[in-house]
Symmetry: C2
């Protein structure tokens, strides 16, 4: 493998009791992971924390120092349990107040008399933050240094992410090749370990499955160089054939 | 509200690049969250970390000191990327080796000659750990102090959890009452904040939805005392009616 490209990393922080209680299944993590891959940013960690200021502050401060980008989702709505903006201000040690630009956006959006005290809470933005556009329901997210603060509702979170995606500076996009076979993981494991040693620049993950009464394994190869990835894939097909099975390509899985 | 019951807390650590790459959607977190609720253990945090020893060690050591229980899922299979057992040993500063009890389980399970070197990796267990039964595919999980180490495949993780559930000592089970209405979150937010002040012992979360072309909000009330929860629910129904809508009960959502 040639020179290791710079790895740009990110962490996702999902904020909300509803995920931790099992009531709601998070959908934002997989979305962000997939989109980041395409621009060469690696989601290196994700956390789910409760609607608790200390928990949010700790997670944000631990991760913003460790990763290039941090994305949060949830907790920026109008209700008393939406405390993300205040927690972010506390994490950065900055003040927070009604943001004139955010107020103007909501004043233009709501009918006269409908911008009540609760909705005005959504215009409280930490000092120094840049707003993130919300084309769905208008109340903005924001960015403070390397921390992007998004809404939790998936359609809004996705729209916010797409609006700022051009700001993100990634490394080489991560390329993926998946090759499956009806070999149990334990039969493939030895040769796969040797293949990993041959191709240290390729990340190899193996995932067992059970389908039509047969055990099988999907092997996912990931790397930033197409030629290297193809070579590893070709060797893997050969290994599968030597073990008496036919490799199954991604398109046929 | 009467005396605050002891809160027993837990953290879930999902281990695996496949979740962070967006390839696989985690299903274990919601399962554990729901089951813990029933026995009065609160899932207070969840993390997803990559197949990287430093990342696993850091997550385990930060969380096992902070929470009553830690559950990990993933990374205990036969392949080179399954490094959880070694990482747990490193986190606790203990050795690791083939565990005779685990070896006996796999020897009894596999046909002669099939227990190869890769499968033998699954019998490497940190010193001092107690095995966790795997009724699905035999290779065991384990527990070291307050850290339970489970497989990542959901059917196996669930079976392992059910096998150890009787060991967990919880607090008062968390009771839930959900009341929805076709009121936008911003209209309900003010009165809901007041209701929260009236019932400090009830946790109140509000979740906007959009259905049949109408905006609405589900309010989830959570508490450990049935009478208190019922009283808060009755006040919430009254609030919804005062705002000109009919409360929708959970069973009708």
């Amino acid at each position: 493998m040639s020179a290791t490209p710079t790895v740009v990393t990110a962490c996702m922080i999902v904020i909300g009791n509803e995920i931790l209680s099992g009531r709601t299944q998070d959908k934002n993590m997989a979305y962000i992971a997939t989109r980041l891959n395409e621009i060469g940013v690696r989601l290196a960690e994700a956390r789910v924390v409760s609607d608790d200021q200390d928990a949010i502050v700790a997670a944000v401060n631990e991760t913003r120092a460790r990763y290039d980008y941090v994305f949060t989702s949830g907790g920026i709505g109008p209700t008393h349990d939406d405390i993300t903006a205040d927690a972010i201000a506390a994490a950065f040690g900055v003040g927070i107040d009604f943001n004139p630009e955010a107020v103007a956006i909501l004043e233009a959006h709501y009918e006269p008399g409908m911008l009540n005290e609760a909705r005005m809470r959504m215009t409280r933005i930490p000092f120094g933050a840049a707003l993130v556009d919300n084309p769905v329901s208008k109340a903005p997210g924001f960015r403070l240094e390397n921390v992007y603060v998004f809404a939790g509702v998936p359609s809004i979170m996705q729209a916010m992410f797409e609006g700022i995606r051009h700001e993100l500076v990634g490394g080489a996009p991560m390329l993926t090749l998946t090759i499956a076979s009806y070999l149990p993981e334990g039969a493939l494991a030895g040769p796969l370990g040797q293949l990993q040693e041959e191709f240290p620049g390729i990340e190899m993950g193996s995932y067992p499955f059970y389908r039509t009464s047969k055990f099988g394994t999907s092997v996912v190869l990931r790397g930033t160089e197409q030629a290297n990835l193809d070579a590893a894939g070709e060797r893997l097909r050969q290994i599968v054939r030597e073990l008496g099975q036919e490799p199954i390509e991604e398109s046929d899985i």
